[in-house]
């Protein structure tokens, strides 16, 4: 392999190399510094005269005297059974003091798109034990359901609680967790690691860590390494894999940084115009495949800059993922854990995972009715602030009270409280709905009311 010493320019994370043999687009590049250390990069633009290389590590120490070798192949991830229980860097190198991973296979990290015709329809209900998820925003196997949070909110606790408690009732299949930290602090990383160790989850986990002080550009490949690993575990070894990606906001910042270095015309708020497509190439790597056993379920976490859900990062994410769980500062301030605001939250695959034979026949309608009642009560809070409680009709006061009850009893639960779907969550929902006269439950059929409503159940 020829080594070039023809770097003409270095700008941010980009290297410009002149007068090369024909180099393939997307190739993996090895760069040797004068002190003998090496860095990796990828070809972003290739022509007869000039090759642009994006370096995945800090460009500190790089100079025109550095040597550049083009490997002739795409970036690949060595994968194998042995990866379970291992902690790797954001670039895929072991950092737990353990041995190098003996690969059973090396797989291109870009990941080809699953043919929509080959996809299996996600339909297995995952019980997380959290009412606001199971009851009203149900997660199913093969779904991509992000947590939209913001700085200072307990999204990591929510993610950990999900990882600890998630199970498919009645299933004993092999599972694994793949965790990718991007730009998170050492402290956050430790919190995750300690919890994984405490619960024994680490043995079944593969951890990729790119910390806040690791190179930002490395974050571009971290989620792809993680997903390549997850796909291998799921579709080749038949495991049900839960992938946690955090924090996608840091990933997007890295994407913006590269766009700026390439002097691209920026899109909305300075993020690249292709960010939707780029994020889709990560998030769409979730799902099931017809005729194969495993599944990849994704829980990406992102922090909304300025708590703004219309910011391009949550916005483009929401357009791709199958719903979102929104963590709210207001509920957090009220001291409610988990502070999940169900109103802007959504699980698009909920309907596939619930109902007769999966959860319970009344699931959908109880959920819809609680939403409607909570939304109505929540709106009235604004009104009360202006006109006072006394100006409200009796009906209004009822809904106002429902909203409080809903937050205090349905939303609020313990950090280790693992509620079952039937008795733990849906029956609790009925208890709350019972504070509203039966005639007002317009979303639910009479038949279900007579079967599940406490008033009738008691008889």
């Amino acid at each position: 392999m020829k080594e070039y010493r023809t770097i003409s320019k270095i700008a941010g994370p980009l290297l410009f190399v002149q007068k090369t043999e024909p180099i393939g687009y997307g190739e993996l590049v090895n760069i040797t510094l004068s002190d003998g250390s090496t860095k990796r990069g990828q070809v972003l633009d290739t022509s007869d005269e000039l090759v642009v290389v994006q370096v995945f590590e800090s460009t500190a120490g790089l100079g025109r005297d550095s040597g550049v070798r083009f490997t002739g192949e795409a970036i690949k991830m060595p994968v194998g059974h042995e990866m379970l229980g291992r902690i790797l860097s954001g670039g895929g190198k072991p950092i737990d003091g353990g041995p190098e991973i003996v690969p059973e296979k090396r797989i291109d990290i870009t990941g080809a798109a699953i043919n929509p015709y080959a996809r299996g329809m996600p339909a297995d209900f995952i019980q997380t034990g959290i009412s606001t998820i199971d009851g009203t925003n149900t997660l199913v196997r093969g779904q991509k359901l992000p947590i939209f949070s913001a700085a200072g909110l307990p999204h990591n606790n929510v993610a950990l609680q999900i990882a600890r408690q998630a199970k498919v009732p009645g299933s004993v299949e092999e599972f694994a967790v793949v965790f990718a930290g991007m730009g998170i602090t050492k402290e956050e990383a430790n919190a995750f690691m300690q919890d994984f160790e405490r619960t024994g989850a680490l043995e079944r986990a593969v951890v990729f860590l790119n910390l806040a002080d690791d190179p930002a550009v490395e974050r571009i490949i971290t989620p792809r390494l993680a997903l390549t690993t997850a796909e291998y575990l799921a579709f080749e070894l038949g495991m049900h894999v839960l992938v946690i990606l955090t924090d996608m906001t840091n990933y997007c910042e890295a994407l913006r940084q590269i766009g700026a270095a390439r002097e691209e015309v920026p899109g909305r708020r300075g993020y690249p115009g292709y960010m939707y497509t780029d994020l889709a190439s990560i998030y769409e790597r979730a799902g099931m495949i017809k005729g194969r056993k495993g599944s990849v379920t994704q829980i990406p976490i992102l922090t909304m800059p300025g708590d703004d859900i219309t910011h391009p990062i949550p916005d483009l994410t929401g357009y791709i993922t199958e719903g979102q769980i929104v963590v709210s500062r207001e509920l957090h301030r009220k001291g409610i854990y988990p502070p999940i605001n169900v109103l802007p939250s959504l699980s698009r695959l909920m309907n596939l995972g619930i109902g007769v034979g999966k959860t319970r026949e009344d699931h959908k309608k109880v959920s819809d009715q609680m939403y409607a009642a909570y939304a109505e009560g929540n709106d009235l809070r604004g009104l009360v602030a202006i006109v006072g409680k006394d100006a409200l009709s009796e009906r209004d006061r009822m809904f106002l009270e429902f909203a409080d009850l809903f937050e205090q009893r349905f939303v609020r639960q313990g950090i280790d409280e693992d509620r079952t779907i039937g008795e733990g969550t849906l029956d609790l929902g009925w208890d709350l709905l019972a504070t509203i006269p039966v005639e007002q439950l317009s979303r639910i059929d009479r038949e279900l009311i007579e079967k599940y409503h406490p008033k009738f159940r008691a008889k």
Binding site: Y117, D315, Y319, G323, E376, A391
Partner: protein, 584 residues
Amino acid sequence: MNEGQNGTGGKLKRIAGPVVTAVGLDAHMYDVVKVGTEELMGEVIKVDGEAIIIQVYEDTTGLRPGEPVSNTGLSLAVDLGPGLLTSIYDGIQRPLEVLVDKMGSFIERGVSAPGISRDKKWEFKPLAKAGDEVVPGSIIGEVQETNIVHRIMVPPNAKGGTIRAIQGGSYTVEETIATLEDGTELKMMHRWPVRVPRPVREKKNPTIPLITGQRILDGLFPIAKGGTAAIPGPFGSGKTVTQQQLAKWSDAEIVVYIGCGERGNEMTEVLTEFPELQDPKSGKPLMERTILIANTSNMPVAAREASVYTGITIAEYFRDMGYDVSLMADSTSRWAEAMREISSRLEEMPGEEGYPAYLAARLAEFYERSGLVTTLNGDSGSVSVIGAVSPPGGDFSEPVTQNTLRIVKVFWALDAKLSQRRHFPSINWLNSYSLYLDTLGPWYDREVSPEWNILRAWAMEVLQKEAELQEIVQLVGSDALPETEQITIEVARLIREVFLQQNAYDPVDTFCSMGKQYDMMKAIRSYADQAYAAQVAGVPPTQIITIKAKNDLPQIKFTKDYEPMLDGIMKAMETEFTQLRSSA
């Protein structure tokens, strides 16, 4: 369309993502080229001196400068003939089912497959005979493709003439089924370049609604067969569910559903669900009238750009057979973004928000391919186009929404405030509109009831009034409203919760016939009339509002044979009102 002119070999000069540059290639705009040793498919999108700029429909990783590029001399075209129905294609009409057989569960590149099978035999039944004069567009025979009859026509770009021979029997799509006097051989398949609208004799003004079974659409903001509608909304507001409801229940004869840059699972959902569903009118499986185009968000962006053209060309083809076709594109914003991405790689001067300056023109050209038409053979057919729009941050002032609204005649404005409270479909009744109301009015008079248009206008008025009253309520509370207006608020609530809310996942409520829509609205009107009368008679509004019988009205939605139930509710309501008035 050029005919194949082979052999002008060029080579790659630069590769940067989905756009590559070749030199030494003799090529024209929109020629389809084969790129690299793997012969990836691409299309010429810019000619700049020596440099030929190509968008590649497959992943370009690994391509190197110096690799060969050859010109097919053909435009990007689709196969049209028996075998289209029930298919699922990518953006350039590669059948995804066949691709699974050829390369497994993941889409690898460099594999091609014809849009329709060349081997399968179809039973061709001639409808024309030797000696008949035919013109472009003439129907010469038919094939029973699914439960749909596939009419075989003289291609619009062929010359007509006198039939010398035509013979029924079992043929592949490439075998000759008829010969004209001048020797022209006609086959069941022809190809058509996707960027060129198929010709028609005349475009007409639509007068018949596309009945969708969705109350807020049919009832308040109808789209005509051959019309255009846009459905913009932030994520999670109901674009896809609405589009899928239309694909399932609208009374079109053929449905083309384009998943353009959206989720893979949504296409899988259609694929799993549609074969199980039946047309409420004919009882036949819905899949048999459907064609899916799936170029999901993680599939190549250039093919996403093409997917919309592939879809509309197939729609026009079925229109030319005399069918009413409806086409859903979810989402046109992803198509516009694909244009933006390609344009920025061409370093074109960006227009508003980075979109190319020709965005508005492309959108207009696309929607212009809809319409109710007289086909070349004098038949009548239509293409209705419904485009989802995904505005960043849900802000409708952005260029794709705005440019679309300048073209389309129906605007279904999705509203996150409604979807958050699970009011579905979350179409805002105050902002939405249909410009077809006047032209469709006579149809509703005739086919539904002479009262319908009056009821509709009344409902809209109540909803408008409610919005004004809500502003007052926000300041002073509902108890401070005058008595009649307290009743108006309650009537509006019924219109919203009973009529407008419709659950796509309820087995009965998912589709609501026009007759049922009329009965429901009439029932609400009847409550309103009795309520105002009672108020005039001195009954206090709290009693009018808490009438028991009306609480059962929502149950109508979930009940298939609802008439006896509705009768019962209305009788009970009358009795209650009579009692109230007599005790007042």
